[in-house]
């Protein structure tokens, strides 16, 4: 049976579908995060060098992964919106940004908590830290531009263009910061070589990442439903739904 995917590019048919999917993604997210936290905080062995403090990694690393991944997904949706002129893609891009910014902030915050006992400093100007900070600035720029434009259609297109320019720049920024750091030889602490990790640690991190992913989908679907209602509030189907008093 062929599914007509384009059908769900229409906000009117995506809205109820998203509503049905949200609870499932919440359940998946909760189950995976609970398993991941249990594996990470109870089952995984204590690190012989870093002690118990390393366990913040099970939140820190998946958050950092998600922060970068969400920016790429956001730029892809923005690109789709420019090419296919689908309204839903712009709404998805808008809905992803706050979650991406949240994960970037969590990655920086937990990184500081990890850095203090390990390096004795809350913050070092390491390449990864610096580029993560700049990624946070890019998210904030995207959201500020969207918020500054009153017309939601223009706002979505303008911020979408910015997301694409940002996505082109992210690798350039990453490598320039990396080379800057190696050339500078300041107070940087290299943690380049990945230590061999116990299988349970790796599994816990992978499951946490999946859990964060499911959480992201659940939250973004909820946010996109609000976005659809706001932007389509003058359309017949929204009017009809509101007058019925159901928000399926």
């Amino acid at each position: 049976m062929a599914i007509n995917w384009y059908k769900f590019a229409s906000p009117a048919s995506f809205y109820p579908l998203a509503g049905r999917l949200v609870p499932w993604f919440w359940i998946l997210a909760a189950v995976l995060i609970v398993i991941g936290l249990y594996l990470g905080f109870v089952v995984a062995p204590t690190d012989y060098k870093q002690g118990e403090a390393y366990r913040i990694m099970f939140i820190h690393v998946p958050a950092a992964w998600m922060s970068m991944f969400i920016y790429i997904v956001m730029a892809i949706y923005a690109g789709l919106a420019l090419v296919l002129k689908t309204r839903l893609s712009t709404m998805m891009a808008t809905a992803l940004a706050p979650t991406g910014a949240m994960f970037t902030f969590v990655a920086l915050w937990t990184g500081a908590f990890w850095g203090k006992p390990m390096w004795g400093a809350w913050w070092v100007w390491d390449a990864r830290l610096t580029s993560e900070l700049i990624l946070l600035f890019l998210y904030i720029g995207y959201m500020s531009l969207y918020a500054a434009i009153d017309d939601p259609r223009r706002a979505a297109r303008a911020s979408g263009l910015l997301a694409i320019v940002g996505a082109v720049n992210v690798p350039i920024i990453y490598f320039s910061v990396k080379w800057w750091n190696t050339l500078h030889q300041g107070a940087s602490i290299s943690f380049g070589q990945a230590p061999t990790m116990a299988a349970t640690m790796l599994a816990a991190m992978g499951i946490m990442a999946l859990g964060f992913w499911m959480y992201t989908i659940a939250v973004v679907l909820m946010r996109v439903r609000c976005e659809i209602l706001e932007r389509e509030r003058h359309s017949d189907w929204v009017q009809e739904m509101v007058s019925r008093g159901t928000y399926g």
Binding site: F137, I140, G141, A148, R154, L161, L162, N169, I173, W179
Partner: protein, 228 residues
Amino acid sequence: MSTSTSMFATLGYLLGREVKLAARRLPDVMTTLFFFVIVVSLFPLGVSPEIETLRTIAPGVVWVAALLASMLALGRLFGEDFRDGTLEQLLLAPQPLSLLVLVKIFAHWLLTGAPLVLMSPLLGIQFGLNGDALAVLVGTLLLGTPSLSLVGAVGAALTLGLRGGGVLLSLLILPLYVPVLIFGAGAVEAVASGLGAGGHISLLAAFLVLALCGAPWVTAAALRISLD
């Protein structure tokens, strides 16, 4: 008359118009330049008058000041033309908008970026930079400031006519300026500490080429969104 001659003629007229308008409003051009000079002059007062300290921070200070000065000038890139309706005429013109935009960016650089480049050796001397480092400072600014104007044009087009556009512009554009800052200031520092600046300068040139290819096109798209 063939289309190609008329296109280049149009681009020439546009360049002439931009330069003439700026010449009639010289104080605007001077404001940017003096902003640059004042920001750089504040650092010895805030940090230390020790020439050794100044020499270490000089590349970064001059580059950050150049970044801020060129960003502040971006408001004028499309602002006036947007208010008096010229920009709409440019959008309707048969010539490709990205080329027209490129000419406008070039004129803008000529009037805001180039004066900074000319002024920079004087500031370098104040900070105790010697011959080689001074030459590299001017060279990297010459290569880097056009990139700043090009990347900045995207932000200027996106924030056109918005309330609080100026502050918003800085939020959008400054993170994108990071590579130029790193390689520009890095080149001067490398020369000052006895290393070659070749790698930095090549990367700066590569960034300029990339910006030259991409920015006019994206700026044109952004202008179409803003004037929709």
